[in-house]
């Protein structure tokens, strides 16, 4: 018997009713978190979560499980710091083991420009509540096991921003803990049901069509990953989203003794060892939009090479599995959340490569928006209309990262 099996969570599947106060499309982390917070924080339980496959089957079960708040702009730092704190409390709140582990997130720099970027990151993090320090090479050489301080002879490690709160958690377990909590509070969650249409009348949502029949509702939240555009198309809302694949891989399981979460923008990868002992590697999104979840060789080929250059001891680790998620990228690398021009149609998208770490705060904010009818201050900057209002947010230091 392995110690990592899910021994506690009990999922109670529902039949869909004819009408709901809120219909959440997408049984991934954001949809489940929205339902969870609606039920537990606001007592709104006449909620359905409709998942076309199995819960957590999209990006919520395909990400690289990193939790961090070391973003480059105040709006994002504040939001993700809230999420990081909710994550720290999630095991206690749900009484479920999500394998949360704080390892510290190190962003290595190899150039003077990189030093400037990471010093800036540390400064904005500190100003807005995330614990991040810039550290010099000698600290890195001392603290990071097995690191080559001058990989390929061209990428000297010249410092790092160290985000002390950087953590990981098991993605599936987060989904299940939230699903179970929502189900227990009376939320209906269905799998293998697809939303095929959203009905509106006079610019207002009145219901959804599904493969399991029509449902009446005045509030629909699109919390899908990868196909947000298709959902929005159903009500004629244009999205600033392009869907790109993001790939990752793990090695086989090894004894756990590599604690830090390491990222290098110059070398184009990040790596951490999971609670189960796999060495997990990821990189940036594929440059061209695609919905394909097929693994590519170019990705694993180039990051394996760079990983081994930075950590020569990893050279003989055997790769176990590759996978691909589909990321909804916004033009300014920042989420798109909240109301749309169609009354009752709400969106939470644009999560790019950072959806997993946003799950608790994203769901909390969407639930608050639904319950109060007011956009919470924390997510107000992420509104869809920011592009027309010339109030884009550019978190370039986070572009295409984990």
């Amino acid at each position: 018997m392995n110690e990592f099996w899910e021994a506690k969570v009990k999922l109670r599947w529902a039949e869909l009713a004819d009408s709901y106060d809120v219909v959440v499309i997408g049984g991934g982390g954001h949809g489940l978190s929205t339902a969870y917070h609606l039920a537990l924080r606001h007592g709104i339980t006449k909620v359905a979560v409709i998942e076309k496959s199995y819960i957590g089957g999209g990006n919520s079960g395909r990400n690289t499980t990193v939790i961090r708040a070391n973003y480059g702009i105040p709006e994002a730092v504040r939001f993700y710091q809230r999420s990081l704190e909710l994550y720290e409390n999630l095991e206690a709140e749900t009484d479920r083991w999500i394998m949360h582990r704080v390892g510290g997130n190190w962003w290595l720099v190899h150039t003077e420009a990189g030093r400037r970027t990471e010093q800036a990151r540390a400064a904005v993090n500190q100003a807005f509540g995330a614990k991040t320090d810039f550290v010099e090479p000698e600290v890195i050489a001392r603290e990071i096991p097995g690191i080559n301080m001058n990989p390929l002879g061209q990428f000297p490690v010249m410092g790092a921003s160290l985000h002390h709160g950087g953590a990981t958690a098991r993605h599936d377990r987060v989904n299940w803990a939230l699903a179970e909590g929502a189900m227990r509070a009376g939320v209906d969650i269905v799998q293998d049901v697809e939303v095929t249409g959203i009905n509106t009348s006079g610019g207002k949502v009145v219901g959804v069509e599904t493969t399991a029949g029509p449902i009446a509702t005045e509030t629909v939240v699109s919390a899908v990953g990868g196909h947000a555009t298709r959902m929005a198309d159903m009500v004629g809302v244009r999205l600033p989203i392009r869907t790109h694949p993001l790939q990752a891989f793990v090695t086989n399981h090894y004894e756990r003794k590599f604690d830090p979460i390491i990222a290098s923008a110059d070398l184009g990868f990040y790596v951490s060892q999971t609670a189960r002992g796999e060495m997990l590697g990821g990189a940036h999104i594929d440059p061209e939009p695609s919905y394909s979840r097929r693994a590519g060789h170019h990705f694993v080929n180039s990051i394996a090479r760079n990983m081994v250059a930075l950590f020569p001891f990893m050279s003989g680790l055997r790769v176990l599995r590759q996978w691909t998620g589909t990321c909804d990228m916004s033009p300014d690398y920042t989420p798109v959340m909240g109301v749309t021009p169609v009354n009752g149609f709400l969106i939470t998208t644009g999560w790019g490569t950072w959806g997993f770490k946003a799950i608790p705060a994203g769901g909390e904010a969407m639930a608050q928006l639904i319950a109060t009818g007011e956009t919470p201050e924390l997510i107000a900057p992420f509104a869809l209309d920011r592009f027309a209002r010339d109030r884009t947010l550019a978190d370039r230091s986070s572009s295409g990262t984990h």
């Binding site: 196909h227 555009t229 298709r230 244009r238 999205l239 600033p240 989203i241 392009r242 869907t243 694949p245 440059p287 061209e288 939009p289 695609s290 919905y291 394909s292 097929r294 590519g296 170019h298 033009p331 592009f387 027309a388």
Partner: protein
């Protein structure tokens, strides 16, 4: 993925840079709205798209191809 360059021949995608060909729906008629749509919004089609790729490691020219974004299979060049 292999992209066929009319000048250089078949080349793996890592020689290329992707470029979207923006399409603003005809239903948007207000000039400001068209401007905003072109700048930020996307069809984000799942299926066959027409797009440009720049052959950075070869002839350094743009070619227009069609690609199926739903499965990532090999592209064909759209001639003419």
């Amino acid at each position: 993925m292999i992209i066929t360059c009319p000048h250089c021949g078949d080349r793996p995608f890592d020689e290329w840079v992707h470029g979207e060909i923006p399409v603003v729906p005809d239903t948007i008629t207000d000039p400001d709205e068209r401007d905003i749509d072109r700048a930020y919004f996307h069809n984000n089609t799942e299926g066959v798209v027409r797009e440009a790729w720049f052959h950075l490691a070869g002839c350094r020219r743009w070619v227009v191809i069609t690609r199926d974004t739903s499965n990532g299979v090999r592209s064909d060049i759209a001639r003419g």
